[in-house]
Symmetry: C3
């Protein structure tokens, strides 16, 4: 048997502090630009079925029970108690928490105490820049404050994350913008901006990425649209050898391309959480595809969970089951040795994340 | 056991009325731009092997017999009788038939009586426009007649279909062309056109798509070249909320991207037939990949069959076997409940199509 | 059981003549633009694990032993003897060897004698052009010498190969450049060039490809970046019917698109070696994906091996095991007949290559 006693969730968000009804719960199962189609429900997805498989038993009821019954039991226990039971039942020993999404979400400290685990903060670059813009009067003060904020964040946070690739296709151009270009873009952005306005200017997004690259902290990049081989290769080539690791998030369904990039560039890593959470009963098949090209030291577990502790549970359970099944099959076929399989399982579950993010071994109170 | 008593083939064509020799039969197994390479045959494909597996027993001979023996038996029975046996042996209870391809093909009425099934018509937009052009003298009369023809077709047909994405990469631009632009393009097209001339102008293709979107009937779109995330996302975003459903046809080998789009946009659906017919022994594996991201209410069975009733048979048999195997495995593993699996099987086989196309429940003479 | 007594490796390189240490051996397992990341090793890849599975027993030690033990045994036997044991243990009966890579590599003659097999030469077009440039003073003499060299090479070599698609995205434009364009490009290239300078000019690469197409010898094309459907379809369409076969190399992870192109164009073939060598324990899964769309007469085995005879071994063993497992499963399920499966196995292992490259049947001393 392949075992993974420690589990570092290298990318997730906090959970909602409020009680949820059937509709608000369902909304967090979808990934779409709108409600479910008429006559359909987001419960009828792999994620929905996986939640109904793994979570009811942690709240003391039978798996695959109807959504309404599950939600009733969840409210009966209350959001705090059900959250504690779920997070503690996930088996995750360290949470790396992106605190950059809006909403009434728990922070790293609350995740740690609810989950009886360790937790660290990941800082979202775009939110940082927007907060700096809210309090900076001029382009010069914005640029000085931004550099200072990134520097300060790098001291406390375990990593940076960015959605630049989602916000503008040109944000990942393979060189930093020039100082004059940046100053002009800042001026235009601040002039037109209301407090809280979102950063989507490609020049500023690029500037932000290159400041982060200079910080030396690992930089987690959300995938943009389409195959990352077409938009990420040049950025990877341009940042090779600078001493900052890049972690590609949300590669699925281009996970084989993400794995290829992790094989080609020494400083590029691939994440696998959401690919598993979204594909549910297919998690083992998808994990096996990622394990084709990705060197085993370049792959990192995460849940990508947001809002619902059920998603942390599903991410962790699917991952452990999939990993055990895939590696166990290869051992049974004679393709891998058991020793190698156990070692690789430990790397993907926790060891690679500890090395990349500089987490102390055993910081989660367990043997490595 | 997962059962699917009803089967709505949501996209297919009629079958040839003439007797076929070995060469003409083989030609319908290929999908290529030319004959088989020297020394090879289209029978040596997954489709060819699947035909030899499923069809001979329906004509009373052994599976996997040589092609020449199968064709001899087919001629012995005659094209009508073999067609009846094959279509009735497919298990399809409703055919939605695209009548827009050339050739001596049976229409919906003949498909219904040969197959002892229900049948409805799908209207191909490009053919409609070409027919209107054949009888319109001026740009103004063309545009008026086209609007009227689409309106009339919408009343009788179950859906529209379009190959605009195949004919021109710009046909799926995310907004309708302006009236002046359309009028100019019509003028140029009509001036240079012979009777029967094909519509490939990107402005007119766009105009046609947006008229169809306004009609409210479901619109089936043939995939263009490459990954639909790169050319279809903006069109989907632009047509969201207008009340017309879009069905992506022929997604394979980009079926995961098609499934992703069906998950993101409430009005987008994914088709799975040709992916199964072309991949034969791999149909279960391909179906499982589509079931990763596609919400279970957004997936529609079809055969995509054209010309040979053998292809309707193969599409239906591969689908039922693949669905039973994939969902049955998930039930056996505990990932899904049996109740859920049976319900989802019914949705993909017939229920989703009934809802999307407004087919009366039980119109095919069976319990839903 | 599916058997493949003959194995034609339709694309590989020679092996290194020098003894290798742990680091130099490891470097040949990676495919990256740099060394392994700190804290990782290229042995922790599917290729590394596959080498440790298949090769130690051929040198008389246990599978999955540590890399250092394997390398010690290899040095104990010496590079010549270990190479002989490995190549003869691969089961490959004919090697087609691309002689166009730098380094102290064995040629076809040495491969044949070390491996007790047949061997033929594949000529790399870019190297040929660079060698002609080294000895041509003027644009006119370069062009005349180039035409003559390609013509002479076509007489002796079994095929041409080109990395034009890797060197410049425009090299596969669907028509030959005009004579004036070519002469201008030659002049600029020769003027700026040092002896040994690499050919990367898109006009000259195009010119070179079209000379090769005119030669009638099969042309093996290395994949460029991204999905070949987006950059190769037009070139295939433009060269259809000219009488020269095109073989797509290195399609993975776009192997389904490569298989699709082999299905669409009569003169296009798909290679499958490196996809298997790089994916190791997943070779059967990847092979099954390629077998979805590729007509069975259009698929060619290769190892793609370079430098290490271990890679020839791994390519051949993974292929035979994967083929046996995939086809054997389909036979067991009733999807294929055993007769068909054995025939298709023989085609992919050797028969298709014999037909495409005009190799005499039984030239490898075995029954076909």
């Amino acid at each position: 048997m392949i075992e993974t006693p420690s589990l570092v969730d290298q990318y997730c968000h906090g959970v909602l502090r409020t009680e949820l009804g059937l509709g608000t719960f369902e909304a967090h199962l979808g990934r779409g630009e709108g409600p479910p189609a008429p006559g359909t429900t987001f419960f009828d997805t792999q994620t929905g079925f996986a939640v109904r498989r793994w979570c009811p038993p942690l709240l003391g009821i039978e798996p695959h029970c109807p959504p309404a019954r599950y939600l009733a039991r969840r409210r009966e226990l209350g959001v705090l108690e059900s959250g504690r039971r779920l997070l503690r039942g996930s088996g995750i020993t360290t949470y790396l928490v992106d605190t950059g999404l809006p909403g009434d979400l728990t922070g790293p400290g609350e995740m740690a105490s609810a989950g009886a685990a360790d937790a660290r903060e990941i800082v979202r670059l775009e939110l940082l820049a927007e907060q700096v813009a809210d309090t900076s009067g001029t382009a010069d003060s914005f640029l000085a404050n931004l550099a200072e904020s990134v520097h300060a964040a790098a001291a406390g946070a375990v990593a940076f994350t960015s959605v630049a690739g989602e916000r503008h296709p040109l944000a990942l151009a393979p060189e930093p913008p020039g100082p004059g270009e940046v100053r002009g873009a800042v001026g235009r952005w601040l002039t037109g901006r209301q407090v809280g306005g979102v950063l989507a200017d490609p020049v500023l997004l690029r500037h932000l990425l290159w400041i982060a690259v200079a910080s030396g902290r690992p930089l987690q990049l959300h995938a943009g649209a389409g195959d990352p081989q077409t938009y990420f290769g040049e950025f990877a080539r341009a940042t090779a050898g600078l001493g900052t690791d890049l972690v590609l998030l949300h590669g699925y369904p281009y996970h084989r391309s993400a794995a290829h990039l992790a094989a080609v560039f020494p400083h590029v890593y691939a994440d696998l959480g959401p690919a598993l959470v979204r594909t549910g009963a297919r998690a083992a098949a998808v994990l096996a595809e990622i394990l084709e090209l990705a060197p085993f030291g370049k792959l990192l577990f995460s849940s990508g969970a947001h809002g619902l502790p059920e998603l942390h549970v599903v991410g962790a359970h699917l991952f452990r089951e999939a990993l055990g099944r895939v590696l166990g099959t290869w051992v049974a076929e004679g393709a891998w040795s058991l020793t190698d399989a156990q070692r690789v399982a430990g790397l993907i579950a926790a060891g690679n994340a500890r090395r990349v993010y500089g987490l102390p071994v055993g910081s989660d109170g367990r043997e490595p």
